[in-house]
């Protein structure tokens, strides 16, 4: 996108990895540092794994997420133990290294599963002829989408105001729910997370066997609220997710554990490398 200053995550990751490699006492700060490093590594690897899967073969969504978790943990531990030294590496070199980790992980996994497909033509960035390979969540055969299809269709003049009204109504209804129900509803409706993952989420204090009950009750209340306002809550028009997530993005509670307080996830202060 024009005006974007260039990726920030490699620099942040570089600084985090260097901090993780420095000797420190275990404790909440150390744990938070390792968590943030792991999360960022994992997110970068998810992106890399998807790109490699387009080239090499279909990869189930769950396998992709597991591979990213596994590889990112190995890398964090290697950095902590000094086996992966990054102090002489630039952010770009680290990003390149992660790309190779992702490629090797996909190739190894697909070979184990016997699903290796070699077709460089499926990577549109290489073919340059406007074809894109897309894989569904359950690993169906790749389908091709013309690049032109990715361009936004022209909006009708009424669409933007309607979207704003819908989003405002949804936000009002969501704000009327208890915070616990808000979080569970968001994670289920926006991301289709399982009850197990929702219960394990650090910002959700609901037992696994309670999750579906909370979801059901929240859906019922949201539906009733939206129908009163003249909308259908189940169909989220384009643009709704981004706005909703910006307003209600789940934030970690304050380190002091104040009930009901929500703050930005505390950034671990690290010195970026030059």
């Amino acid at each position: 996108m024009s005006g974007h200053p260039g990726p920030q995550w490699p620099s942040r990751l570089c600084a985090l990895l260097q901090a993780a490699a420095s000797p420190a006492e275990p404790g909440p700060c150390r744990r938070a540092l390792c968590e943030e490093t792991w999360l960022l590594l994992r997110a970068a690897l998810v992106s890399g794994l998807e790109r490699q899967a387009r080239r090499c073969g279909p990869l189930d969504r769950e396998d992709l997420e597991d591979l990213a978790s596994e590889k990112s943990l190995e890398l964090v531990l290697a950095a902590e133990e000094g086996k992966w030294r990054v102090e002489d590496r630039s952010p770009g070199e680290i990003a390149g290294y992660l790309a190779s980790v992702a490629r090797n992980a996909v190739v190894d996994h697909l070979r184990r599963c016997g699903r290796m497909i070699r077709d460089p033509g499926l990577d549109w960035a290489e073919s340059g002829d406007g074809r894109v390979a897309v894989h569904g969540g359950a690993g169906p055969p790749a389908r091709e989408v013309r690049r032109a299809d990715l361009l936004p269709a022209a909006e009708s003049p009424d669409a933007a105001p309607e979207r704003r009204e819908f989003t405002a109504a949804l936000a009002q209804c969501l704000a009327s729910l208890p915070s616990r129900s808000q979080r569970v509803w968001l994670l289920r409706v926006l991301f289709d997370m399982s009850a197990r993952d929702i219960a394990a989420h650090p910002d959700v204090e609901v037992r696994q066997d309670q999750v579906d009950v909370v979801v059901h009750r929240a859906r019922h209340l949201m539906g009733r609220c939206m129908r009163k306002k003249g909308f259908d809550a189940e169909a989220l028009p384009p643009g709704t997710f981004a706005e909703l997530w910006r307003r209600f993005r789940i934030r970690s509670p304050a380190p002091s554990g104040g009930a009901g307080e929500e703050h930005e996830i505390r950034r671990i202060a690290v010195q970026p490398s030059d």
Binding site: P7, W38, L40, A44, E65, D66, S69, F241, A242
Partner: protein
Amino acid sequence: MRSAELPSSHPTDDAILDLVAGLLEEPEGERLHAHFGSCAPCEARYRERAGSWELGRARIPAQWGGAPELPAVARSRGVSWRVGGLVAAAAAASLVVAIVAGPERRGGAAGDHPFVALPSPEELMVTRGAAPGGNGDTWREGLAAYAGGEMVRASELLSLNRGSAYDQPMRLLYLASSLAFSGRHAEALRTLESVEEASLPEPWRGESRWMRFLLLRSTGRTASAEALLAILSREEGEVGDRARRWSAAP
């Protein structure tokens, strides 16, 4: 890392990752949100990335405080054994260690953990080559600490031991188990992976595989853990039964 370079009006994968990770300045974030409002494919990419990020937060490895993944049946499972009667032989060329199992239920430590304490041998375990006061003492003391539930001390003693090659597989196995009980799962897994499984007699061999399954899960290697669980579920015996109950749990 090469990004997916869509036409210039669309954000790159790197830009979306920066947004999800909270690394963008306000104006840049606003620009992206404005774009998402009118571009369903880009908003879908953002939604997928954000969902993956939140999934990561739900799956923080247990060693950093993430929730261990346990079905209720595994959580309620406890360990029942007791150490009694350690016997040491005074022979110069050999050291005999005996641990006798009993039916008494173990204290809170085992009951709070998903891990199962290693079985006590009903036969004598014989180690050779250590004189009294040498490395054989730390091996015996380490086992005694393990049996008494003092896992931190057990791991310290068992890691010190430089005993005979004959003892190594068992020593490493008990070391891995004590590390697991102490919450040092990554170390436990690395230790376990250095044990030659084929050199372990039953029932220790089966228990080592069960421990490996739990450690793979707790260190985030879920795919490998599930693959091992599938193998264990096809086996006979206590570990096979345990694996089948685990698989069947909701």
